[in-house]
Every structure is written in C-alpha cells, then in structure tokens.
Amino acid sequence: MSGLGGGLDGAWARRWAEAIAEGVADRKAELTALDRAIGDGDHGENLDRGFQAVLGKLESLEEGATPGAVLKLVATTLISTVGGASGPLYGTAFLKASVAAGERESLDAAALVEVLTAARDGIVARGKAELGDKTMVDAWTPAVDAAAAAGDDVEAVLDAAASAAEAGAAATEPLIAHKGRASYLGERAQGHRDPGSESTALMLRAAAAVA
C-alpha cells in the first residue's frame, strides 16, 4: 500500500491494471451501449479484449517491476490488442505515462501528477482533440487539472482526478462531437455520453480505489 505520504509503487500499478480489467469486464455492456448510441458499439469489447490481454501479460512480468515497467506493459498490450481508436489513444497514454514514471521505484504526488499529465498529453498528441470535442480528453483534462491542485497526498491526488473525470464524462452529454465516430452524427450526438470519457473515469476511479 501507499498512503501516509508514501509513494505509489509497482505493486500499486499492477493492482491498478487489474482493477481496470475487472471494472471493464463488469461494465463492458454499459460501455458498449454508450458506443452503440453514437459510435460503432464496440468500446466495451475493445477495452475488455485489451485488458484481459494485459492480465495475461502481467503474469510473466517480474515481481518487483517498477510502476514505469507496469505502465509500459499495459501500453504495448493495449496498442496490439484493442483494435479501435481507444487502442492507440490509451496505448499512447500509458506509454507516455511510463516514460514520465521513468526508473522510479515509487511515485510521490508530484511524480504522479507528471505521469497523469503525460498520459493526457499523449492522448492529445495522438488524437488532436480539443477540450469540448466530446472525447476522452474531456475526462482527462479536468482530471489532470484537479490532480495538480490536490496537494501532496497521492490518494488525494487520485481521488481528485477520478472525481473530476467522472464530472467531465457526465459533462460530455450535451456536446456535439468533433473527433471520432460520433462526429458523423452532428447534433444527433447530443444527449449521449462519450464512451471514452466514461472509460477514462472508470480507469481513474480504479487507480484511486487500489491506492
């Protein structure tokens, strides 16, 4: 565990990945239903395929792997297995996060904010979406902002990030999409939550839950 001012270690990163896998498996149908309304109806399946593969790969990762090593394994696995936009997007996010984590054995609050910021920047670099385009960026950016303002405690940082992502996901509902498949729908996308923003909220809540 971390807590008490302690950092987040490789075991936390591993628990994080496992918790995402579990959350995605539980909420696969819900994520897919969101994507069916304004996309191609595969977001839950895509992420479930990716995170089940991550679980398999984690088994062969060495015991004391750093947070960066775990994040890198998640990244390369998602890139190779997801098969939809969220593959390169989350893949790049975890890759940039792993680079930001570097060789560190554990992440303090400042490092954690760096890691989350790098993940968000990776998504923006890959997908070129702006805030308000009704994508996962609308969950990530408020999450990163809240994390940066949350102080020195890693649990508080993660909790702030998760709450902000959840609010950001909900706030995508009235929007018109300007990136991704939902952009084909014009005004018809209004009233529907962006599936990627919802899976982002799930991931960040999982990070907080296992910290």
Binding site: D40, D42, I79, G83, G84, G87, G91, G127, G180, R181
Partner: protein
C-alpha cells in the same frame, strides 16, 4: 525509385479491394493491404500495420492510406516503432481514390513527396 503503398482499413475486404483496384494501373508497385483485426474482424491491427509498413518499404518510402480516424491513429503509432519513420507519410486523402492516384504516381517513378501530393489531389465522386 519506387515508393510503396500501405492501405490501412477497418475491413480486410476493403483494404484488399483497394489494393486490387490500384494494382490495375500500377504494375510493379508494392501495394500492401493491412485491413481488419488480427483475426479478420472489423477494426485495425497494429501488428498488421507494422508488418505492412516493412513489406511496402523497398527503400524509397511508403505512403499510407487510411479509412477512418482510428486507422490514422493506429498508423501513426506504428510509424513510431518503424525502422525508417522518416520515409513514411500518411496521405490526407480518401482511401480508395487516394490509393489509385498515389499508385499511378508511384508507378511512374514519383518521389515520396510527389506520391503523397498525388494522393492528396484525389477526391472521388461523380
């Protein structure tokens, strides 16, 4: 000097069909299809794209045609792990029409920049 082409689609059939169409007017050009997921489903496959980039590159570079935004993102991610990313370009062009125009240019010995430009002039339609 022959630039190769990689066609990245969510559909295996679509990618192979584009290659078949473009090949008619471009004998001798390396035209490679990377369509569908690893198991032939609808989606893009990073591994197929990485392998396709290597296959299409005979040394003079590769122009990549994509069907949707997520294919572009998969291609960009694959280019980052390619041996010679500096000679790979993603065309800002419709996948089928752009591939035909690019293939014709490549068949006539156009440079990498010229092939990208040729793809970009294609717009398709009546």
């Amino acid at each position: 000097m022959t630039v190769g082409l990689l066609v990245v689609s969510h559909s295996r059939l679509l990618a192979e069909g584009v290659v078949e169409l473009a090949a008619q007017m471009a004998p001798g050009v390396a035209l490679v299809a990377a369509g569908g997921t690893d198991d032939g489903g609808i989606g893009t496959s990073f591994d197929l794209v990485v392998a396709g980039l290597a296959e299409a590159d005979g040394g003079d570079g590769v122009v990549v045609l994509c069907d949707l935004g997520s294919a572009v993102m998969t291609a960009e991610t694959a280019i980052e792990v390619a041996d010679a990313p500096e000679r790979i370009r993603i065309a800002d062009a419709p996948i089928a029409e752009g591939a035909v125009a690019a293939a014709v240019a490549a068949a006539h010995g156009a440079t990498l920049d010229e092939v990208v430009a040729a793809a970009g002039t294609a717009r398709g339609g009546a």
